[in-house]
Amino acid sequence: MTRIQEKFNQLKSKNEAALISYIMVGYPSEKATLAAVRGLIKGGTDIIELGFPFSDPIADGPTIQMASTESLNKGTKIDDFFSIVKKIRKEADIPLVLMTYTNILYNQTYQKFISRAKEVGIDGLILPDMAIEESKDYVKAAKKSGMDTIFLVSPNTQNDRLKKIIKATSGFLYMVAVFGTTGVQTKIHKYTIDALKNTKRSANGKIPVGVGFGISTDKDVHKYVSSGADAVIVGSANIKIMENTPVNKIESKIFTFTKKLKNKTR
């Protein structure tokens, strides 16, 4: 069992949903990344999603695009990413998920990249441009290394497709809350709640369902958890905090924000 699967089992026995927190590695600096990780862990987040920047992030809105560009401009390389993950692993046993784009893996071959990621302590992968039709080699390589493959579904994903995606997914299923890219939204749509219920029905208890994209407040967290989400994923809101906070205050600011969100998952 992977760290992610174990975590969901523990939470289930406590009747709690998971809080999954995203940050962009190397934004605005390595030091800030490590400070944010400490704040997230102290604040009680259950899973940390580490973004590795890609030059062309088509699924991301302005906030994460900005963080990607900044991180790349600072010179963040994949070797730096792996060395940061190693540092985090020395301090914590929390599940770590990598979110990036297909080309970053494809470039080194899926197998090589995934076994290296697993070795340094990554537990699962999210690739927003990896469609189920193209995923055979990727899933095969991940299975071989015991890496979870977290696929995304959308409110417009039809049921037959949903079934195929669920079959290829491990760890948890990532439901995109909105038609759009990542970033803060101002309201929760009825179609999202309907889609969440439908997705949960298809998942049928076999795989946890997390909701992400546009979730930024404790109220959002409460709404999704009370509608049946097994996890909520918060990303751009963390980046926004980091954008406006000096490095020596990042840990405490992220801690306070995370604690507030985590309270609503119980």
């Binding site: 890609f54 030059s55 062309d56 992030p57 088509i58 699924a59 809105g61 695009q65 560009t69 790349l72 390389k77 994949i78 784009y101 297909t102 080309n103 970053i104 893996l105 494809y106 470039n107 080194q108 927003p128 441009d129 990896m130 469609a131 039709e133 193209e134 696929f151 995304l152 579904v153 959308s154 417009n156 994903t157 039809q158 497709r161 995606i165 995109v176 038609f179 759009g180 890219t181």
Partner: protein, 391 residues
């Protein structure tokens, strides 16, 4: 070797559809709708009429006598796509896709553009068919091709200047895809090159294949060589596809910029590596980590780090030769054609001319070369002027 409808959207190992899940239903709907109209008589008739009466097809095949004499080798013929409405081959595709969008009941059209030719062609097609157009264009390109920005606006389109990334064509595509993800139900994405997720490379090739089909009809004998410039590769695949199963030597010319051994070029087939971008697996310019490299070309229309998957396939199958020419060679070719024939070519097309000049010298006088002159060069005269003033 000739692939009609690619199975699973793949040309050999290239292509596919690497897309965010939100786009999956839209791509599926597009594929179904396109395959349905692909052989629909009424659709073909309507498009055929527009191509003749509105766009100005068929385009002439012109024997460039003076150029041939100046170079002194094989006969050079020009396929005059520059004479089409709007001044480039782009209208062949935009009319086809805009008609399809209309049949699908989509009222809002989005498109990306590099040099602005596809944006202009989209704006024209939409104006004539009563559709609303919004065009994404890299900020850098809006500066170097500002005349085309105004043309699009005059034609009723809204132009968004994209300020993310390298602020050129690839970023315009990123932004158009983000718009599509957000407005997936109401919007049709009218891609301008033979790139992107399946079925775009297929559709764009089919709509542009009119170029190669006319070449076959217009030349008494199949030419010894055909040459076209390759950015994303739409005029090239349209030229090449109908000739794949002939004996013609086929040559695609990439933008060599300051030279393919420098980093300042846009030649992924000559100096790139396989990867995944904009929904397709193809050759890409990228660094060691898989980050997409910033490209350079004197022509905005070729300034793109990827290439259509069918070209990647034809390269690996050794059916098409892909070469690169430098900015300097392009300017020389631009001037030679302008002065010998009185034809001002687009800088994109001048790439193909430059290579034709190179190889015709080594060919027999009885042999022939057809060069697709994909567009006219009025849009580029400021760039050429600046280039010459620096020499």
């Amino acid at each position: 070797m000739k692939i009609g409808i690619p199975k699973d959207g793949r040309f050999g190992e290239f292509g596919g559809k690497y897309i965010p899940e939100t786009l999956a239903p839209a791509i599926e709907e597009l594929e179904k709708s396109y395959l349905k109209i692909r052989n629909d008589k009424n659709f073909k008739k309507e498009l055929g009429r527009l191509l003749i009466e509105y766009a100005g097809r068929p385009t002439p095949m012109y024997f460039a006598k003076n150029l041939t004499k100046t170079v002194g080798g094989a006969k050079i013929y020009l396929k005059r796509e520059d004479l089409l409405h709007g001044g480039a081959h782009k209208i062949n595709n935009t009319l086809g896709q805009a008609l399809l969008a209309k049949r699908m009941g989509k009222k809002r059209i989005i498109a990306e553009t590099g040099a602005g030719q596809h944006g202009v062609a989209t704006a024209m097609a939409c104006a004539s068919l009563g559709l609303k157009a919004e065009i994404y264009m890299g900020y850098v390109d809006t500066i170097r091709q500002k005349q085309n920005v105004f043309r699009m606006e005059l034609l009723g389109a809204k132009v968004h200047a994209v300020k993310s990334g390298s602020k050129t064509l690839k970023d315009a595509i990123n932004e158009a895809m983000r718009d599509w993800i957000t407005n997936v139900d109401s919007t049709y994405y009218l891609l301008g090159s033979a790139v992107g997720p399946h079925p775009y490379p297929l559709m764009v090739r089919d709509f542009q294949a009119v170029i190669g089909n006319e070449i076959k009809k217009q030349m008494k004998k199949i030419p010894n060589a055909v040459i076209a410039c390759v950015g994303g590769g739409s005029n090239a695949i349209g030229t090449f596809y109908p000739l794949i199963d002939t004996k013609t030597r086929i040559i695609g010319i990439e933008a060599g910029g300051k030279g393919v051994k420098t980093k300042l070029h846009s030649a992924p087939l000559s100096a790139g590596k396989k990867g995944v971008l904009h929904g397709m697996m193809t050759y890409l310019m990228q660094d060691k980590d898989g980050q997409i490299s910033e490209t350079h070309s004197i022509s905005a229309g070729l300034d793109y780090p990827g290439v259509g998957p069918e070209h990647a396939y034809l390269k690996d199958e050794n059916r098409v030769e892909y070469k690169a020419v430098t900015d300097d060679e392009v300017i020389d070719a631009f001037l030679i054609l302008t002065r010998t024939e009185g034809i001002i070519p687009a800088l994109e097309s001048a790439h193909a001319i430059a290579h034709a000049i190179k190889i015709s010298k080594k060919m027999k006088k009885t042999e022939s070369i057809v060069v697709t002159l994909s567009g006219r060069g009025d849009k580029d005269i400021d760039i050429v002027k600046e280039y010459l003033s620096k020499q």
